[in-house]
Symmetry: C2
Subunit: 394 residues, 2 copies
């Protein structure tokens, strides 16, 4: 297979290397779970006579190269608030992964920041740390208890050109409340939760972009003058024609009212925690699987099913941000679906009979939701995406 | 004050910026604890009628630029095993911080690896991931339960020149077993646990170096030809005369039998977990404070005391690795004590009456220990180091 533009930029949507690296590791106590589930190390409840009733999960993720975009935007505009968005990105990339195993509260989060001290001053660190705290407070208002347990900031200019922002989340939950993808089955419908919009618990419009695919998004959309102005924002090993190869300025209008191109791309990753909590509080035993469409985009589910044909044939309209990225990059739509969420970043696999109830819950939070597809028996695993841009199989 | 060489290299021993960043954050439920202690989010035991009996702690730290040294050594020799050492470094930098609050078992650990995919292949990731697992297994043999809960590896060449390796550890413990530094007092003696040697639970000699001060150590010791050969291993913003300004080749003999200079500097951070566990199992209520001398070196304790004069006047002989660094760099001894542990990386503050018992426990593990100093009342906080190189106050 020809190396994709994505891979030429030194990033991998399929994470082949990572899969190799962890191939010999224990997979945890629940098969096919979105995050690894381990015994109740925290609660010492793992050796109960009556079988383990609790389990633990701990998860690490970060904002990747979205931090570079924040750096560019902050350098160009002086606007420190983008770093608060980055803090939300880092937290949500973890919290929303944990939602997929059914953990919706009682979490701890830490942040890890690596910086180039010559380029990142104290006020940026402060904005990120306080942004993490702010996210926890916003979630507390929705009865989701996420405690900010602290973090680490290290100066390592010999490694970090600008800044790297990661977070880690821990949770303890009842063993019988864990959701795995084991029950995703023939006849299930797929409810997609929109990635763009402004929910009741949000104070601004979200463009739909998460914290994956940002190496591509940034280079494909922004114009080449950023390469000369900010050589610290890319790897000189990248083929020159792929570096900031777009036509846009960060402050150009984006096509979404009141948002510049920079703001559209930097829009923080929306959390689905309040919605998923409400869904699970009411329908937990009926949820067959939850998939967070981050790295791998709309193909993410393929890591969690076997002998199933997943058909996505009623997707949301593509949000402006993804149309802009495709328009600038001319990336094939087939690849776009492998990199970006393209309209919904969270999907629930359920029997059709409860679909409308779940959609109602999402809409109560002013979050758009609908049936975007279904699952069928198949001799091998397969994904078909029928979109306005054509039909693609994976 | 003149900017130190350390600061000119874009690193900060005093972490002023970080302190600014977190100044508005909640400090946790235990004052003056080495790590932030939070309520029992994990166990939901925080609202017990009888007062909270459990608490949680979650901690993030990494190997910093020791990863760059591993990269250099691996590139020069092809020896993948150094990456297993790096995995141990990342885990121990966290686990040993947690020891200081009295957590000695029932931990979960995750790893976060950010890599430049052009430079770091899958087998390096595999060595780090498996090294983390191996560390957990070694600790299990000592009845210290650390479960490897997974991790994240991300490709972000636009940020990372080579590789960044961090880890995060969570623990839950009884509230009344938490050790803070609040009880460090007049009359306490300080027991230092040697940072170099080979304990009963270790399979090789440890040079004494931890995972801090490595930006200095690497540039001060290694010769300039590495700058031309591996420009990806340093920040071009660093003043040129500070880049690889030493005289050594990685494969030169180190002065320690069977170890090259590279191996001496890369020697994994020793964990004190088995020793501290045995000490706390027997003497927990009598331990007034435990300090892990990482960033800040021998001055670390200054962050945790008030109105006390800490006198360190019987330090261990300086291990070869620190003598080599000083010999190459001509760094003042006053600064050396601020950056490196210089002989003991863990210290226990206790009444003199139990000191010999604690020293016996350490020696049972073939780990050298002795009284290295004491504490006196003082109108302000103060640290005096009386060493073979002179007397320094901080």
């Amino acid at each position: 297979m020809e190396e994709s533009k994505y891979e030429k930029r030194g990033v991998s949507p399929s994470k082949t290397d990572v899969r190799k690296a962890v191939s010999n590791l224990d997979k945890g106590i629940v098969s096919n779970s979105f995050c690894k589930i381990i015994p109740d190390v925290m609660g010492e409840n793992k050796k109960s006579l009556f079988g383990p009733s609790y389990c633990n999960v701990m998860h690490a993720d970060g904002v990747g190269t979205k931090a570079v975009l924040a750096y560019l935007y902050w350098r160009e505009t002086g606007d420190l608030s983008v770093w608060r968005g980055i803090a939300q990105d880092a937290a949500v990339m973890n919290v929303d992964d944990l939602l997929c195993v059914g953990a919706t509260t009682n979490m701890m989060v830490t942040s890890s920041i690596g910086r180039n001290k010559y380029r990142i001053p104290a006020e940026v660190l402060k904005a990120i740390v306080e942004g993490t705290q702010e996210f926890c407070e916003n979630m507390a208002a929705e009865h989701i208890d996420i405690t900010f347990a602290g973090g680490e900031t290290s100066d390592m200019g010999d490694i970090i050109r600008t800044i790297a922002v990661d977070a880690t989340v821990s949770a303890r939950m009842k063993r019988n409340e864990v959701i795995s993808c084991e029950r995703i089955q023939d006849g299930d419908v797929i409810i997609g939760l929109a990635s763009s919009g402004k929910a009741t618990y949000e104070d601004r419009y979200h463009s739909g972009i998460g914290s994956s695919g940002h190496t591509s998004a940034r280079h494909d959309v922004l114009k080449h003058e950023y390469a000369e102005k900010y050589p610290e924002t890319f790897d000189a090993q990248m083929p020159a024609e792929l570096v900031y190869s777009g036509s846009k300025d960060l402050t150009d209008p984006s096509g979404v009212e009141n948002l510049t191109v920079g703001q559209l791309l930097l829009s923080p990753t929306r959390t689905y925690a309040p919605v998923i909590k409400a869904v699970l509080d009411n329908y937990r035993p009926s949820i067959h699987g939850i998939i967070h469409c981050t790295g791998g985009g709309q193909t993410k589910v393929m890591n969690f099913v076997n002998n199933l044909h997943v058909v996505k044939d009623h997707l949301f309209d593509t949000p402006v941000v993804f149309k802009m990225i495709q328009g600038e990059s001319k990336t094939s739509w087939q690849e776009m679906f492998q990199v970006f969420n393209m309209g919904h970043r969270m999907e629930l696999y359920v029997k059709e009979s409860i679909a409308s109830d779940i959609i109602k819950i999402a809409r109560y939070f002013n979050l758009d939701a609908k049936i975007i597809g279904h699952c069928e028996n198949s001799s091998k695993k397969m994904l078909t995406i029928e979109s306005e841009y054509g039909t693609f199989t994976y």
